[in-house]
Amino acid sequence: MHQEDKKRTKGGSWLTRGLGAMLLMMGPALALAQEAAEAAPVPNKGDTAWMMVCTLLVIMMAVPGLALFYGGMVRAKNMLSISMQVFVTFSLLTVLWVVYGYSLAFNGTGQWIGDFSRFLLSGITADSNAATFSEGVVIPEYVFVAFQATFAAITTALAVGGFAERTKFSAVLVFAVIWFTFSYLPIARMVWFTEGFLFKAGALDYAGGTVVHINAGIAGLVGALMVGKRTGYGTVAMPPHNVPYVMIGAALLWVGWFGFNVGSGLEANNGAGLVFLNTFVCTAAAVSAWTFGEWIFRGKPTMLGAASGAVAGLVAITPSCGVLSPGGAIILGLVVGLICLWAVAGLKKSLGYDDSLDVFGVHAVGGIVGALSCAILGHPSLGGVGAFESIGPQLVIQAEGVLITIVWSAVVTAIAFLLIKVTIGLRPSEEAEREGLDTNEHGERAYES
């Protein structure tokens, strides 16, 4: 597999990179210390600098970005609750990633999961390097470990938006650990590791449309269903308590997402430029689409809508940022802006679930649109730079990846919540929920005057 990849990228034309990136995504895992020692490639400092920047951008996406994006949307009495869920989940999983996550996801030979041979990163030193998608180009392995840690940690933090405002902090943390271990790690391996089922099938997912967004979106939805609706949902108004926070959060997500998407290429090269521009312009188009869509269909364009549009665009371009042309990215942005608007308005209403922060409507739906768009807008006949032959078969492969992720994530989430329900319990008392999780779960209030 690795061989074939090398051949491909050697072909030289950047056009092949779209697919190459996908297929090679697990390359780093093969860059064992010995191997590095043989060929002894030295990391380019521009790549190293860029990958460190990308890593801290993804950290900024989570804290404070996601905490604010989510926090602004809940009621004031739950502001600290959701912030804590994001902040502590992110921190805890970063530790677990270093302890066993990296080893299970990117080491060993299993096709579903790795082994514990790099427990606590044993065997890795500052001299270790990880391969990139270009032959002979490496980056420090510690940087790769840190970069991947942020993906694992933010994905799980995303999911908690589905059952926000009504779940016990302890339940959220237990869910996070279980889901990270049994859903994130295997799916990351399936999609990004050479022996993974989806990897072998040729599914395209540049920066995590399936692994991150569909995965988290489904967990959010299933969690929302299992935890049940917020008390008063449907009868009591639950407006966002601080829309400026939502705006700040969305903006920081936008800025940070360049680390997420461009960093997934592992190099600061010409291909990075395309990914960068696509991430920029697809988001801008989705903001515009949601804004005008709301204006036309609901009467007024809202800030909450524009912010949601930004996230929808970012989600959709995540899997496809390496295979679309900037023109294709604009089209994708316009389309996904409208589809996600429909998902959180029409679809959600008709199905009646209480996905508090629309993790499903934005991340799962946007992720599906993005994953499928790879096969369509990514095709050279539509201006794309994808290296697959024809649209139809690739669309089937993409759909397969989407479906497997949906099922896997749903099952793991359901089991996790069942276990929590029968052990420590999922929800605080109704009184505590109505009074607010901030005071009841955390003994704090967000604002004092």
């Binding site: 108004a237 639950m238 809202t302 629309d358």
Partner: protein, 112 residues
């Protein structure tokens, strides 16, 4: 003495203040409140969710003054705060037994 409590639209405060100042009112206390009344019933959207908005932002304006001037002030307030649309608000009058100006210990009408 009387206490006038007016519940008004927030953006009418400046008009109200100028109107009552012209009538010699020297003190006003204003509170941000939310009100439920006939104006309810419009719905707001948050992303997809559509909610009945029951409580809308209002200001409560309190003025303590001698009984003699109260009628004119009520009149003035209702004039400037009227738009004719539901939600214009209410004015309540209640008796006040005593008023004290903390700074000077003056009491009664002198303190209002």
């Amino acid at each position: 003495m009387k206490m006038i409590t007016a519940i008004i639209r927030p953006w009418k405060l400046d008009d109200l203040q100028m109107a009552v100042a012209r009538l010699g009112v020297q003190g006003i206390t204003v509170t941000e409140v939310t009100g439920y009344g006939r104006q309810r019933g419009h719905s707001e959207h948050y992303r997809g969710s559509e909610y009945q908005v029951e409580f809308v932002p209002k200001l409560r304006v309190e003025i303590v003054l001698d009984e003699a001037s109260s009628e004119a002030v009520v009149e003035a307030i209702s004039n400037v705060c009227r738009t004719g649309k539901t939600g214009d608000g209410k004015i309540f009058l209640a008796p006040v037994g005593e008023a004290v100006r903390i700074r000077t210990r003056e009491s009664g009408a002198a303190a209002a």
